[in-house]
Each structure stands twice: as C-alpha cells, then as structure tokens.
Subunit: 222 residues, 2 copies
C-alpha cells in the first residue's frame, strides 16, 4: 500500500540466468510462507531449504543468511505493492486514485491470507529496535502515511475532501484502520475489510469527492 | 477494552496464602514481560524463572506449564481491563461511558508500551488455529465488538448517534482502529492514539451526543 510511482517491472535483461532467477523466486516464496507461519525468529534456513527440496548449502548459495532472505522477501512484497498501485496513480486524479487503490487493496488482501499473516507477524516481532526488519517497518509506515496524506491533500485542493478533514490525521487513521482490520480478520473472516475501508474513505469525502471516487476507472492495461 | 460489567476485585478471602499469591503475581509479571519480548513460542520457563530468581521447578510448582502461565497472564490482563472499565459503566450513560472508556484506554495504553507489545505480539502469533491463545483472541475480539456495538446502540436510542451511523459496523471500525494505532505507535511514539480515537468516536456522535461525551464524568471512587 503506497502512493509512490512504480519503477517498472523487470525487463528482459534482468540480472542473473533464468534458472537462478526461478530458484530465487521459489526460495522467496517458501521463505514468505515460513516467516508468516513461524515468524522470523522461529524460521530456519533448513526448513525453508527443505520446502524447496534443496540443501541448506544450496539455499545459502542464493542468500547468504536469514537476514538477507528476509530483506529479499520484503523487497519482493514492496515490488508487488508498487506494481499493484501503479495503474491507480497513472493518470491525474487529484488523489482519488490512491484512495481507490487503498480500498481495492483491502479487497485484494482478503484473497491472500498468507501475506497478511506475514506482515502482521513480522511487524509485531519487529517492534524491538534490534530486529532486522525494524527500520523497514518504521520506514514503511512513514512512507504509507506520507503517500496517503499527499493524496488527501491533493483531494482537498480539488475540493473533494470534507472541509473538516485533516489530511495528516486522516492518513494515520486510514493506515491504522487497514492494519487493525487485518488483525481482526485473521481471527474472523467475516470482517469485510474492503467495505470498512470504503466507508472510512467516503466519510472523508464531500459530495463531489464521493462522485469522483465512484466514477474512477483504471486505465486499460498496456 | 471491554464493555462488560466488572465482577469485582479480589476480596480479603482470595484463595491461597499471601506469600504464594505474591510469588504468583511476580511470576505473572515476569512472564508478561518475557512473552511481550519473545512471543509465546520464543519464551522459556527457565528464562521466566531466572527473572524471578527462582528455579524452574519452583516456577512449575505455581504454574504446571507454559500454557497455564499464558492463561494466567491473559486472565490477569482481563481482570485489570475490567477493573479499569468498571467506573465508566457504573452509572446510566446511554453508552457514552463505554465510548469515553475506550478513548481514555487509548491514552492509558500509551503509558504501558510493554503491555501493548504483549498484545500485538501474542495476537499476531495466535492467528494460527493451534496456538494456545487462538480461542482467547477470537473470543476477545467478539466480546469487544459486542460490547462496543451494544454501547453504540444505546447511544443511538438516546439520540446521541449520527443518523447514518451503524452500531455493528462502527464497532468493527473502532476495534480495528485501536489495534492498528497500537501497531503504528510501537514504531512511532508520536502517533497520538487517544486523539485519534476521540476523533473517531466524535465522528459517530451527533451534537447532543458530543455534548454528553464531553460532559461525562467518572463517579468518585468509593
């Protein structure tokens, strides 16, 4: 969930041989699952290697240690998030694209419980300052709040926001709501994350903003 | 955070000898800290015993295993939560007491980072159905949502709620917001949890409800 512009999907000339890239991708997927289930502290290189049917040494050939693998897992998530958000910010929409992107992301998230588990689990562990993902999550929260506040400020300038809405405060609110809904939803799948996010976003918009939100359409894929 | 009525603080005739009770309390405090820091999976009976300067066998005399100790930690938290909430629901307030209790709890929580860490950490671990605290957290969320929805419905009947507010949906929203703010705040202490909760609650109330919220006072302690 971020309002940054996308840096582009890897092209034909992405680094590494195809086979090595495939193997790396497989390891990252297995690590994602394992971190989600056991946390970073509880995960072991050996378990992840076993899940990929390679040896521990084989895995360490691709990723020097568990920290490097964690970094790769998080980078992969960020890359996917940016790719997911790119079409929402491709055209000028006075922030409405980002708000629609946030609501649609909540809907998408309910399809990928494993990834939600990963983030809830890792971020809970990473509150300790010496956790290897502490700086990552601190930065991530700042980036998400900044991107959301930026979009809300653009919506305010376009006359889309309710007059009493405060972009910076509302950015904290929407970010917290998204996280808290995920935590609840992992215990009760009946929680409708997208409907809740949509309700919260519409609560910030005035009538013209609500219309722009409903009228927003994604550009056709290239 | 709950809207139940309190069952009363333990009286003079609470079970066990004073010395044993003191020791139990000490163990529970040490376990709370240890679970908060290492999660339930990462915590060990030996580390907790060491923190209390007793032997492993000495600890197991009071708590048969790590699961029993976890249950005691969570029960102690619930007892404290109920005691904290009791004055807010002592008089008739058409749900306003519970809403003030929620906002004040957010302010109180910013004074006890260790306990917030405990809950964020344990609930993230407990999303797996076989975790010993899974049922506890599932029930806790349901209870909190039910209590909050109940208070909001009472406020609606008194004409305190905005006409477009939906008690059940708003209960999910407030519960998620509280959790999500805690997760963010653990990475950035500048997040003002109480101000955010207050803003969200006031957003649900109409003018007379907002006045009742501001005028609410706790009964004098007995």
């Amino acid at each position: 969930m971020s309002a940054e512009t996308v840096s582009g999907a890897p092209g034909k000339h992405a680094r590494g041989y195809p086979k090595g890239r495939l193997r790396r991708g497989e390891i990252i997927r297995a690590a994602t699952e394992n971190f989600a289930q056991n946390g970073f502290t509880g995960a072991t290189i050996l378990d992840i290697a076993n899940a990929c049917r390679i040896t521990r040494a084989g895995l360490l050939h691709h990723f020097a240690d568990k920290e490097t693998l964690l970094r790769a897992v998080l980078e992969e998530r960020d890359r996917e998030d940016r790719a997911r958000f790119a079409p929402y910010v491709a055209g000028p929409s006075h922030g409405i694209g980002v708000l629609r992107g946030i609501v649609d992301l909540a809907g998408h998230n309910s399809q990928v419980p494993g990834l939600i588990d990963l983030f809830v689990r890792l971020s809970a562990e990473a509150t300790t300052p010496d956790h290897p993902a502490h700086a990552y999550f601190t930065d991530r929260y700042r980036r998400i709040r900044r991107g959301t506040a930026h979009a809300l400020a653009a919506a305010a300038r376009a006359g889309y926001l309710r007059e009493d809405a405060d972009p910076a405060g509302a950015a904290v609110h929407l970010t917290a709501l998204m996280d808290g809904l995920q935590a609840q939803w992992l215990f009760d799948a009946e929680i409708d994350m997208a409907a809740q996010m949509r309700h919260a976003v519409l609560g910030l918009l005035g009538p013209t903003g609500a219309r722009a939100f409903d009228d927003f359409t994604l550009p056709p894929p290239e």
